[in-house]
Symmetry: C2
Subunit: 331 residues, 2 copies
């Protein structure tokens, strides 16, 4: 069986991350990665009449641009795997409707990018597909009104709150070509230490990030150049560092978090940093992937983290379960 | 590549449906399959304080019973794949939290059972897992209040409306053993002919069912003994028959729908029939699987159908996208 250790799936040298395409909103475009995204959309509706419709346009356009750029026809794509934050993952489903590709929808909240890439790489290694497109998205406005409060209220944001990234990344996985290869995939177990505060997702997700990272590192024994989590922000990142330090297995020197990479936290007034499915997705597509391509790093552990927060469950007194999926990528 | 035709993934003889466990509510227990379910729960809260918490208990208990019955320990299960109808698939995520298994969450609305079984069988055939548990659930009360109207209103139901099944099925897929084997999997493309009525899901899903069935039959050429869709009910079933008849490729004689099997439509006052993730799941687990085991049928095409209905998208003027995933199972 292609499983190593307790929880990690091992892949031969045959799954390549062939290309990516990223689209972000205005605020993300003004951040430190501004010149690295493929497209920046200034209008938070992008000509649509709702934020939700705008978000699905992000996904659809990213996939179309990725396919066009690489001369990929519909028949070349064996499967589209996607998910997002909205109820019934409408951005993904409506984009898939327009793209007319065979479609697997997933839900992992902000862990979606690693979840789709993990699944996609197993299916390619298993011999079922030559080309798979993985995509996810989030939109500050659609997420804020679904998960928290009406934007029109203008409520003050908590200091531990994160800023949902408006953005999407489409990732083309292929069994041919060159470039970075996906080598090891760990699907996480849910961790929940009882955090109930929808304005402190970093704390809700950190135990899951620690658990999956620890398991992945133990299972594979790979010495990564860079370990990156999805969207823990400053609060969650410091908890992960603390948990590893308590283990006497510090990862601090080679560890970073997409939520702290995508924004200039001080200048852009985003409090604890970025979040949302689009956070780890766009940071991977525009920044980390290119670091691998340019051989600035050779071994990347990409770990998207998800807070499976449900407003209904919270109203019923439940806490917020966290999950993290790890994808080990090597150049 | 293990792909046949345009859209179907072909599996060697190594993925067995080893066992199932089903739990249903009172109304389902009073229906024609009443004596076939593993457990019937009379109380629509099952001792919990909300319908949502009751639904997650259904999932959790089904998996626990399935594991206990087969002496499966936590370490024997390589992956749990699950999804459900609720926002943020809370039944699945919270059940996965308590089960502490590596977890992949999917969203396919009522197409979830075939979606999880399809993914699971590809991962086993790909060599990544020996044992995978697939599970899904729905609950009449939690679905009704999320997707339609408060139950307390006591509104009159449309004649084309379906009755969401309260139930769950856990399915154990394994690369060893004996019994029915999953042979071919087709993940559907989304079809949407513009239906906007949340009380006519059968019509919204029928074009997707037709599209995936037609593609699967064309790709595989298998002459199935029985073709079953998930939860089209009387309305959707008649549309599928009509679409195949117009093609001059009638499947009428060997075609049925779980939504018309699970309830006595006249006597139980369910209007167009059953629906929900639990519909095709429990009919498969309690009835179709046993038909295969007993060799009453040898070749089953199991097709769960999903209406990716979003109340938000509908309020924004959108129609309801449909999807159908096919799993060909042979004894």
């Amino acid at each position: 069986m292609k499983k190593i250790g307790k929880q990690t799936f091992s892949i031969k040298d045959n799954v390549f991350v062939r290309d990516t395409f990223t689209i972000v909103g205005k605020k993300e475009g003004e951040g430190p990665l501004g010149d690295k995204f493929d497209m920046i959309v200034d209008d938070d509706l992008w000509g649509e009449d709702s934020w939700e419709k705008c978000e699905l346009k992000f996904q659809k356009e990213a996939v179309k641009h990725l396919m066009d750029k690489n001369n990929l026809a519909q028949k070349d794509i064996d499967l589209l795997i996607s998910g997002d934050l909205l109820n019934q993952i409408t951005s993904s489903s409506f984009a898939a409707r327009d793209l007319q590709l065979p479609y697997v929808g997933v839900y992992g909240a902000c862990s979606t990018m690693a979840l789709t890439m993990g699944l996609g790489s197993l299916l390619i290694d298993g011999g079922f597909a030559n080309n798979i497109i993985c995509v996810t998205s989030s939109h500050f406005c659609s997420a804020e009104r679904q998960y928290r409060l009406p934007l029109e209220m203008g409520g003050q944001r908590h200091m531990s709150a994160q800023w949902t990234v408006t953005g999407t990344a489409a990732v083309w996985l292929s069994n041919g070509g060159s470039g970075p290869r996906i080598k090891n995939v760990t699907f996480g177990k849910i961790q929940d230490l009882g955090v109930k505060d929808a304005n402190n997702m970093g704390a809700a997700m950190a135990p899951a990030a620690y658990d999956s990272l620890r398991q992945h590192l133990e299972d594979t024994g790979v010495d990564y150049d860079l370990i990156v989590t999805g969207d823990l922000g400053t609060v969650g990142k410091s908890i992960v560092n603390k948990m590893f330090n308590e283990d006497k297995k510090s990862i601090e020197k080679k560890y970073d978090d997409c939520g702290t990479i995508i924004f200039d936290i001080e200048k852009q007034d985003v409090h604890a940093g970025g979040s949302g499915c689009g956070c780890s997705a766009t940071v991977f597509g525009a920044f980390l992937y290119k670091k691998l391509l340019n051989k600035e790093i050779n071994k990347l552990l990409f770990t998207s983290t998800g807070a499976l927060h449900s407003p209904t469950a919270t109203l019923q007194g439940e806490s917020i379960p966290g999950i993290a999926h790890c994808v080990g990528i090597e150049m």
